[in-house]
């Protein structure tokens, strides 16, 4: 595991850059544990201060220190992305492995359901959930809904890998020595699928965080929880660009773009790692 990580950093510049970018954001989010201020309180400091030695990221029109406020925002946003990724990975692994290995009518039924989830546009459905739940739509309920919407594409990918594993000799070997189906799937096939799970988890986080930002900016989530999206919502609400408090918009946007690029580079380089042909080319073999 560590050898893989070392090789990735050494031979894959994209992985190294991605790791640094995500690392910076994670560290910044972790700073919120040592924050001297409560992010839910407003008018604690002088409003509309530009970035300075005292207020590194300035203060917003609600009198909040943006440095600490944003570190809370990034913590919540990252946790949200991780929850969605974790739940949706469980669903896509289960569906993908079962569908690929069992085949037959199980496969057909699961893939029919899968097709529906792939085809239905997620944004209108999420808006529907906001429409009926209103402020009941908090971080966790939104994460659950998004996980249910976001597993389908990856389940199909896992299924295609399992399909090819199914006819390999070690699978037959395991089956003929009396290994049970759940055991074959978990102990024999899951390790092969693991790199795909990591790569798709990054892509899934990009998707879910992007959706959360979008919904929050429109005011379609609980706007009192500090996330990157709600930060932008409040900035728009106070017309930050017109008033001239540009740091309120520019700093969160720059940081979230760094997060996305970092996650994306990690996903891309892991994808390349999965494909041995491109890995060899990169190592100059």
């Amino acid at each position: 595991m560590f050898a893989v990580l070392r090789d990735l950093i050494r031979y894959n510049i994209e992985f190294a850059v991605g790791l640094v970018l995500v690392g910076i954001i994670v560290l910044y989010a972790c700073l919120s544990f040592f924050s001297p201020v409560d992010p839910t309180q407003i008018y604690l400091s002088i409003p509309d201060q530009p970035p300075s030695a005292q207020y590194w990221f300035g203060t917003n029109s609600r009198g909040q220190d943006m440095f600490w406020n944003l570190s809370f925002a990034f913590r919540n946003t990252l946790i949200f992305g991780l929850i969605v990724a974790a739940i949706s990975r469980v669903i896509s692994i289960t569906v993908g492995l079962l569908s690929g290995y069992l085949g037959g009518w199980v496969d057909r039924v699961l893939m029919f359901i899968n097709d529906i989830f792939v085809a239905v546009p997620s944004f209108p459905v999420l808006v529907l959930f906001y429409f009926v739940l209103r402020s009941g739509l908090n971080t966790y309920s939104l994460a659950a809904v998004m996980a249910v919407l976001g597993w389908a594409y990856d389940a199909r990918l896992i299924r295609s890998v399992t399909l090819s594993l199914k006819h390999r000799e070690f699978t037959l070997h395991a089956r003929y020595s009396g290994m049970s189906t759940p055991k074959i799937l978990l102990q024999e096939h899951l390790p092969y699928v693991m790199p795909i799970i990591f790569a798709t988890a990054m892509a899934n986080m990009i998707w879910s965080i992007g959706m959360e930002v979008t919904l929050a900016v429109l005011g379609f989530t609980n706007i009192n929880i500090p996330t990157v999206g709600t930060t932008l919502y409040w900035a728009n609400n106070h017309s930050a660009m017109v008033v001239g408090t540009w740091w309120w918009l520019v700093i969160p946007v720059v940081l979230i773009v760094i997060t996305f690029i970092g996650l994306f580079l990690l996903a891309v380089s892991l994808n390349e790692y999965i494909d041995p042909r491109s890995r060899l080319r990169r190592m100059g073999a």
């Binding site: 429409f131 009926v132 773009v257």
Partner: protein, 334 residues
Amino acid sequence: MTGYLSFVLKRVVQLIGVIAAGVSASFFITHLSPINPVDQAVDRITARSGFRPDAIAELRAALTELYGTDEPLLVQFASFWGRLLQGDLGPSLIAFPTPAMDLVMRALPWTACLLVVTVLITWVVGNLLGGLAGYYQNNRFLKAFGIVTMGLQPVPYYIVAFILLIIFGFLWPVLPISGGFAMNVRMGWSWEFAFSVLQHAILPATSLVLVGIGTWFLGMRALVSNVVTEDYVTYAELAGVRPGRIVRSYVLRNAMIPQLTGLAMSLGGIFSGTVITEEVFNYPGLGSLLIDAVNGGDYGLVLAVSSVSIAAVGVAILVVDLLYPVLDPRVKAE
């Protein structure tokens, strides 16, 4: 030809399944929630000014009759489908008494045009450049393009649209940032109107293209750089086939097939992106309508917009799927 026919039939059945499931899901999401649309609408209307109690009771009775919320859920479900198939989902609240379906049908062409034009541009240009980048791996321009798209691709639609809005709205105001056409232009078949529409479409379309192009470019580059290592490409090179012909007929065409499947699978996501971009630029499409409906608490309109979007995306996926045999002759043979 029978192979193609059964392929089409299978896809149509699938499409009907997708639409039925999606629309039913949106019905149940809205109707199984504990929130009563009648109460919500009454609260919203009475919050603005004082009403006599008997007027409120009448309002409540009228809305209950309109939404049919006093009937059992399954009866409501059946009548919802019946009305949907007739294309009548009752009047809207935000633009009473215009029927909700009329509003949706007025917004649909805007979204459809924006979506079709940007998807065509992104898919064709992205795949072409990606294919060339995979084949000519040392080209500097294509390398630089790859790095730029890698930076743009993961950024969500909203953020890119928002950045363009800031640049062209505040820093360098040369392009219209809001609406579908200028206020002083009359809607109709005139050059003036067409020009205004085009001008207003530049920013939304650009932001959609900027985000979308990376997926196809990077995917195609990866595909092609694998295809060029195949034996048949080496054989063609050794046999003295011209490079242009190898790229066009052997490499791109083979790599295009998974990209077309990819397009069909990502249309739902692209639609979501279009909807979001519309809201940023206040474009008069389904996205702005949906958000207005939610903000206005318009129960029927929200349901109408989401049902029509699900159906529209389903049909679009079918169209892409039916193009499949054009690229891949093996489907016909099956």
